[in-house]
Amino acid sequence: MKQFALWLSTTSPSVYIQEHNTWAIPAIQSIHIVGIALVMGSVLMIDLRILGWAWVDQTLRQTMNRFGPWLTGALWLLLVTGILMVIGEPVRELVTFSFWLKMVLVAIGATVAIVFQRMVRRHEQRWEDTLVHSPSVKAAAILTFLIWVCIIFLGRLIAYDHVWGSWSPSEQQ
């Protein structure tokens, strides 16, 4: 991975970002943060609806219709800006424990978001009548929110990967 990161850092898109790093990196990171904000706002509202703490005058399907597209759109924005950050600083991103653990959680979080939207659309009546009231679905809603919280922690910890000690590949040089 170190070899790949070093190779990536010599490619022209990477060199371009590195040469313009005074504005390019903060700009990409700021857009990435806006994307996270849209994900967090959307996930919070959908989860509050499942918990019955907000949007109770709307059906689950209506709440999904309001926030689902924003959630999916924001995930695409995060993927694009995330890839740009990896291209811009390959070694800083790829040679860290935080980044890879984050990617595992992102895969889980994104899968939950997509599968959940599909399930609600396909079995709408069952979700509205029974599933939304079940304790396990409510627990899953809280767990999903916590996964995104952990993703934010890990994303920021990429900059502080030394906290992981020998788990961090950047410490093993």
Binding site: M40, L44, V163
Partner: protein
């Protein structure tokens, strides 16, 4: 004052800890993303771009309390980061711009509360707010975007506080968990 803040035992504790600053900074990101995410829901409703089928007051009741919870998280963690290196942050132009933008965002919100929101009964169910309300909403989005951008720039234009007694490199998660470190 700035020097005193940096010398408080809390500031020293955060500076000397390997984990405190990264964890406080991460919590700050969680707070600020929830602030922006929930404010955007309100602003897009005022602009008539989303949630237009719901009365504004109902949407505000569902959303704004979480905005305030998140804002308190962001403000407390922000203050904790500030005291670790107060004199550097205080003289940083991006920090100053961010604080100015936060004040403008607060002023903007105040304008909304004493004008458009007073007449909410007339437009609560309309697809969008009256012109002043829409202007406030658009300005709010711009100001909060500015807060995010200037906030991120602070990290690129300041150096971390000098630590009186640097944390030994070997003190890390393994030590905290009592795991055997690799020698």
């Amino acid at each position: 004052m700035l020097e005193w803040l940096q010398r408080t035992s809390l500031a020293i504790h955060i500076r000397d800890s390997l984990f405190a600053f990264p964890l406080i900074e991460s919590t700050h990101v969680i707070g600020l993303t929830l602030v922006f995410g929930t404010i955007a829901i309100i602003d897009l409703r005022l602009l008539g771009l989303a949630s237009t089928n719901r009365p504004f007051q109902r949407l505000a009741a569902d959303t704004l309390k979480w905005t305030w919870v998140a804002f308190v998280i962001a403000a407390v963690t922000g203050a904790l980061m500030f005291i670790t290196n107060a004199s550097v942050y205080f003289h940083n132009n991006y920090f100053r711009a961010k604080i100015a933008l936060l004040f403008l965002a607060a002023l903007n919100m105040l304008v909304f509360e004493v004008t458009t929101r007073r007449t909410v009964g007339h437009w609560d169910r309309n697809a969008s707010a009256p012109p002043l309300g829409r202007a406030v909403a658009a300005l709010s989005l711009v100001l909060w975007l500015g807060v995010i951008i200037t906030g991120r720039m602070i990290g690129f234009t300041t150096t971390r506080a000098a630590v009186a007694e640097p944390t030994p490199v070997e003190q890390n998660l393994e030590e905290l968990l009592g795991l055997p470190g690799n020698e």
